[in-house]
């Protein structure tokens, strides 16, 4: 058993990749065999991650578990460092949980070049897991970049009409940003005597980098990470990519890939450049709020369901970033919850829309109406996930939304009540656009587009599709009622992240003594008052 724990993360990363290799090597597989094989491979990865979760040291969630390093270029001190803390563990679980469902959901949607499709999915899974388990910046960055390639092909080959344009925009946009990020990360490593280990950089970087340097490094990292999140105004690649991608691509994009951005902001940008994070927070918070409202209003005028959900992601991720830059326990824990919750509910919404697209070959809201009459089961799931997405208490979305807003509201110097109140209007707009969509598609008098093969006029979900959606629905309900299961493990790792923030408010929020001590250190008085004024 020990060898398993020792190699846990390496295996986790290798599992999808090796399955992919096996998939390529095995000749003469029928389409359905390929599908079942990929399903089994992703399920095995999920089981492995569950075993990992069982052996994870939950009593000490801030410490890295399953630490392992594999020598790479010894001369430069480069190595593949593996390790997870509680935050990474949850995101690993989210990824491995979503993958089998994505595979299951693409069983019938993908009919051509099946093997290649699932191969790309498996490679993508490895790359995404790599981002979450990496403990040194080069390995991290390689995985972060590498996710682009499988997705580029998934969108470019299997997408809908404008897929090539979407793939190109997606690639260039995110790649350009990442190049800047990489230069920033290298600069940090250089200033710290070529240290690549993230844990060491947490200690070294804040000391070595001056305020100005931190600002530049932060800017460089934001260039890549904020594109990925995506933060307004760098979001424009997302609606296109989401809309044109095949269902599986959209689910992974919304479910995991956007979280790479927020995860990197949280685990890399903030602790490495803490002073800059503190200084940038009001601006980033403002962009987040603008993004929330701007994207929400755009959602309202969409005609394509998928595009609507894509824009809603922009709006939702705004909450995630807003909570993160509140730098207090509520906001940051809410932000991590938001990552997980958004992955479940928006991923599920994309699956639901994909199921509609498979049946009617259109996603235009004007083409269909009142589907509740012929597809009651689908309608149930659709309404359920919409409610989770709009933040109904009792379902998962609410927990993150509430905590991020509470955090932003409570943050004294960085953000504050105006941010939370403005973002709060996003909740109203969310209700408007989601119910607008539900009212158009699910309810109302029946209207079904003319389908050429005509075989799916009265087709509700089949068993496979129900099996795909049920775990997601169960997850939404469970996390809505029992979020403390995750929340309890988050405060300690988050405390580590804000440890070096100049602004002691952040840390003071964590100390258990009342009344809270809110002392501002390292910051000139003028800046402090300026922030308070914002």
């Amino acid at each position: 058993m020990n060898w398993l724990l020792d190699l846990m993360l390496v295996l986790l990363l290798a599992m999808p990749l090796l399955s992919g290799v096996v998939l390529v090597l095995l000749p003469d597989l029928t389409k359905s065999m390929v599908r079942v094989f990929s399903l089994l491979a992703t399920l095995a990865t999920f089981v492995l991650s569950l075993i990992g979760a069982c052996f994870f040291d939950w009593s000490n969630p801030a410490a890295l578990s399953f630490v392992k390093s594999v020598e790479w270029v010894g001369a430069f001190g480069l190595q593949f460092g593996f390790g997870v803390n509680a935050i990474s563990m949850w995101l690993v679980l989210l990824t491995t949980f979503l993958m089998p469902l994505v595979v299951l959901g693409s069983f019938s949607a993908i009919q051509d070049r099946v093997k290649e499709f699932f191969l790309w999915l498996l490679i993508l899974e490895s790359a995404m897991l790599g981002v979450f388990v990496a403990t040194d910046i080069v390995f991290f960055h390689i995985c972060f970049e590498f996710t682009l390639i499988p997705l580029y092909f998934l969108i470019g080959i299997y997408g809908s009409a404008q897929r090539l344009k979407a793939a190109r925009v997606f690639f260039l946009y995110t790649f350009t940003g990442s190049m800047l990020t990489f230069s920033g990360l290298l600069y940090v490593a250089w200033r710290c005597d070529w240290v690549f280990s993230i844990a060491t950089l947490y200690e070294l970087a804040p000391q070595r980098l001056s305020e100005i340097e931190q600002a530049w490094v932060m800017g460089a990292m934001l260039a890549g990470f904020a594109v990925k999140v995506p933060l307004f105004p760098l979001h424009t690649w997302l609606p296109l990519a989401h809309t044109e991608a095949p269902t599986a691509g959209s689910v992974i994009l919304a479910g995991v890939l956007l979280k790479l951005g927020t995860y990197a902001l949280l685990q890399l940008a903030i602790p490495i450049a803490p002073i800059a994070a503190d200084q940038f927070a009001p601006i980033i918070g403002l962009l987040a709020v603008v993004g929330i409202l701007y994207a929400a209003l755009i959602c309202w005028v969409q005609k394509d369901i998928k595009k609507l959900i894509a824009y809603s992601s922009v709006s939702h991720l705004g909450f995630c970033v807003l909570g993160m830059f509140a730098f207090n326990a509520e906001g940051m824990a809410g932000s991590v919850m938001y990552m997980i919750n958004h992955g479940l509910s928006t991923g599920a919404l994309f699956l639901c829309v994909g199921m509609i697209y498979e049946r009617f070959h259109t996603r235009q809201m004007s083409q269909m109406q009142g589907l509740a009459q012929i597809m009651p089961v689908w309608s149930f799931f659709m309404v359920f996930f919409c409610l989770a997405s709009v933040g109904l208490p009792g379902l998962n979305g609410f927990v993150g939304e509430f905590l991020t807003l509470l955090g932003a509201f409570r943050a004294k110097y960085v953000l504050g009540p105006p941010y939370a109140v403005m973002a709060g209007f996003g909740l109203i707009f969310a209700a408007i656009y989601i119910l607008f969509m539900v009212g158009k598609v699910v309810f109302g008098p029946l209207k079904v587009p003319r389908v050429e093969n005509g075989h799916c006029l009265s087709c509700d979900l089949n068993l496979r599709e129900i099996v795909t959606l049920t775990p997601l629905a169960a997850g939404c309900l469970w996390l809505g009622l029992q979020p403390s299961f995750i929340l309890d493990t988050l405060t300690e790792p988050l405390e580590k992240i804000v440890e070096h923030l100049p602004q002691r408010t952040a840390v003071a929020h964590y100390t258990v003594d009342y009344p809270r001590i809110e002392v501002r250190m390292h910051m000139p008085m003028a800046q402090a008052t300026k922030h308070a004024g914002l």
């Binding site: 690649w237 208490p393 807003l405 509470l406 709060g424 009622l481 929340l487 405390e495």
Partner: protein
């Protein structure tokens, strides 16, 4: 002794909701869902009865509120790490609620972590006498309405779906009234909103129903945002969202008088939530439209229980409102103005259910008026009696609809007392209570509110309460008039009626009913409803007539025993006592109102026409509900949508221009290197013109896209 049972009150209906949902899948099981729902609600009612004994105040003993914990929900913990067990333990002992765990530290040494909650909101229930009163209303009326609905909804396609949503509603509503912290209360609050959404849109193939459901949810969300901000502010002010902890902090603050801006912000934000849910100005617009839902839903959710949640919220958190000198008077003014405003609209409507909807808004206004002038007992008492008579009125309206195949237009029915004798007199009882006719339930509760208002005005020599009291009296007159206008129109005069378009209770593929046209004719003639449906109505009618003098002492004792007792009660002992006088005045007013209605709508209907002709403009404004819907649409909805359209076009252009830029980057670079030949001024002019044109085009595109969908 039975108090632990209380934790099942919300969860029995929750389980029933799931069961009913499962029943929806099998056609044969659909009928079972009604039974499941009724049994579940009756069970919660039974538990309420069982536990209520422990909370009834006996003599002067104060009744202690009890907290029942179910499970942890949202909590954020902060921690402190210690290297020695002793210091950790002493720290843990100093901080109640903290937990200590031992673990291996990074350096191999044992370390001790003490976790202390920063933010806690659990599923735990607060039980006190106020909660018990609310539970009686919710589960009692809920059970009666469910029994009625079992008959009313019979044969409907979504039978199981309906009962599933009703059970879910009871879950949410009981959670709301039992919540021990604001966040759980908010869960119930949003939960009832969801059920309201699902049930208003129950006939989901009707576009108007879908639109109404959406409107209800969105308008409520506006109030909910206020509620949320209230919770945030309360949390930064009191460091907790647990209700009784906040209230004890407030009491301390009130004594030492150290208030700050947050103390004023909290009640106003919570108020916004209350006004949204309880349909007060300016957020009342959703309630009349909510009548698109099935009538039992209107009775249960949109009259008796959910819409009173706002009143409950303020009463529950009364100390938080009292601390700000402006909060409660604002509540009272909004309540009184809404009461009058809605009553005037009700005068000129023709749709029975909409009249009752405006009446509900108006009566809720009364409750707020009472609570606002610190007559919490009056407010809750009116909530209690209103639950009886308004549920009765809606359900009898449902019986009329049932008889006339969905007909709701007052102009298309007349003289139905022979056809619907039972309904006629049941509705009569409800109308009496609504009109505040002497010795009915509404009479006592309305009197309690108005008397308290005038007492406050006279004893404290304030003008505001007196003005509001006069508005209340005027509203009472209008109420009596419109209540009986409706009753006389339906049941007196020559018998004539037109059938409506809906086929209630007739499933299209139901063999028996469509087998011959004769039977169809028979089924669709006006007919009295079955006794299954009338039995609960009888109970409600008894309540509407007698709950007043039977209940008012009980309610007063119950409310006084809870935290809703005003810290500064209106001077009860010294100063004038107006209850006796007020009874006479409001009794006379009510009789006058009824007589006026009798004259205009029974004895001399022609006079009404002449009267209406003389005030054409007024009538038109009232019939169109002061054009508030149109105003909101033009001021808020449309502009927002246009803005959304503009944003979208901007967004699209950015993508497209980005793609173009990527393609033309090399050429653009080449052009940039060449020196420009144009004059600088000219360039600016062209740039400005292009900018202007593009803005105009954007706006046009946005408007066009707004219109298309």
């Amino acid at each position: 002794m039975h108090i632990e049972l209380a934790k099942w009150i919300p969860w029995i209906p929750a389980g029933a909701a799931v069961l009913c949902g499962l029943c929806a899948m099998k056609r044969q099981l659909r009928m079972a869902s009604a039974l499941i729902c009724i049994l579940a609600i009756c069970a919660t009612f039974g538990i309420t009865v069982l536990i209520s004994g422990s909370f009834s105040p006996n003599g002067n003993d104060p009744v202690k509120p009890r907290t029942v914990e179910v499970f942890d929900w949202i909590s954020i913990w902060g921690q402190q790490v210690f290297s020695s067990r002793i210091s950790a333990e002493s720290y843990a002992n100093e901080n109640p609620g903290s937990k200590m765990i031992a673990r291996d530290g990074t350096d191999g040494e044992k370390e001790f972590v003490v976790r202390k909650p920063i933010f806690v909101a659990d599923f735990s229930y607060l039980l006190d006498s106020l909660t018990i009163v609310m539970l009686y209303v919710v589960t009692g009326v809920g059970a009666l309405v469910a029994i009625y609905a079992a008959g009313y909804m019979a044969g409907d396609r979504g039978y199981a779906r309906f009962f599933s949503a009703v059970c879910l509603f009871i879950f949410s509503m009981t959670t709301l009234v039992m919540a021990d912290n604001l966040l759980l209360l908010f869960l119930g609050w949003e939960g009832v909103g969801l059920c309201s959404y699902l049930l208003i849109g129950y006939y989901y193939d009707k576009p108007t129903a879908v639109a109404a459901a959406k409107k209800a949810f969105v308008v409520n969300r506006i109030g909910d945002l206020g509620f949320l901000i209230g919770i945030f502010t309360a949390y930064i002010r009191y460091d907790t969202v647990v209700i009784h902890e906040m209230i004890s902090t407030v009491s301390a603050t009130m004594q030492n008088g150290a208030t700050d801006w947050k103390d004023h912000l909290i009640p106003f934000m919570l108020m916004l939530g209350a006004f949204g849910k309880s349909a007060q100005l300016p957020l009342y617009v959703w309630l009349p439209d909510a009548m698109e839902g099935p009538t039992p839903v209107s009775a249960l959710i949109h009259a008796a229980t959910m819409v009173t949640a706002g009143v409950y919220l303020i009463v529950r958190l009364l100390p938080l409102f009292e601390i700000s000198p402006y909060a409660l008077p604002t509540v009272a003014v909004v309540g009184a103005v809404t009461a009058l405003f809605a009553a005037t609209i009700a005068l000129c409507q023709y749709d029975i259910k909409r009249i009752y909807a405006y009446s509900t808004i108006s009566q809720l206004g009364y409750m707020f008026l009472g609570v606002g002038f610190l007559s919490t007992a009056g407010g809750i008492f009116h909530l209690f009696t209103h639950a009886f008579f308004k549920a009765l009125l809606f359900l009898t309206a449902g019986s009329v609809m049932h008889a006339l195949a969905g007909q709701l237009d007052l102009r298309k029915m007349s003289g139905l007392r022979k056809k619907l004798p039972v309904t006629c007199w049941l509705m009569f009882a409800g109308c009496l209570a609504l009109a505040g006719f002497p010795f009915t339930a509404g009479f006592f509760s309305k009197d309690m509110i108005l008397a308290a208002t005038f007492e406050k005005g006279i004893n404290e020599q304030l003008i505001l309460p007196n003005v509001m009291g006069v508005i209340g009296l005027l509203t009472a007159l209008l109420t009596a008039f419109y209540a009986f206008r409706l009753w006389f129109r339906i049941f007196t005069g020559p018998e004539k009626y037109e059938m409506g378009a809906e086929h209630h209770g007739a499933e299209p593929d139901h063999g028996v009913r469509t087998s011959s046209s004769v039977q169809v004719e028979h089924v669709h003639d006006a007919h009295e409803v079955s006794w299954l449906m009338n039995a609960p109505l009888l109970v409600l009618a008894c309540g509407a007539l007698t709950a007043g003098f039977l209940g008012h002492e009980w309610i007063e004792r119950m409310v006084v025993a809870s935290t809703a007792e005003p810290a500064r009660p209106p001077m009860m002992d010294e100063g004038v006592q107006l209850h006796g006088l007020m009874m006479v005045v409001s009794g006379v007013i009510s009789v006058v109102g009824v007589m006026a209605a009798a004259y205009f709508h029974w004895l001399n209907r022609d006079a009404t026409e002449r009267f209406a002709d003389r005030f054409v403009a007024t009538v038109r404004v009232l019939t169109n509900k002061y054009y508030v819907d149109e105003l909101y649409d033009a001021m808020i909805v449309r502009p927002l949508r246009v803005v959304g359209g503009i944003f979208y076009q901007v967004d699209r252009l950015v993508i497209d221009s980005l793609v173009m830029a990527l393609g033309f980057l090399p050429r653009a670079l080449g052009l940039a290197i060449q020196p420009s030949q144009r004059g600088a001024l000219q360039g600016y002019g062209i740039g400005m013109a292009i900018g202007l044109v593009s803005i105009v085009v954007l706006v046009l595109m946005a408007i066009a896209s707004g219109h298309n969908s």
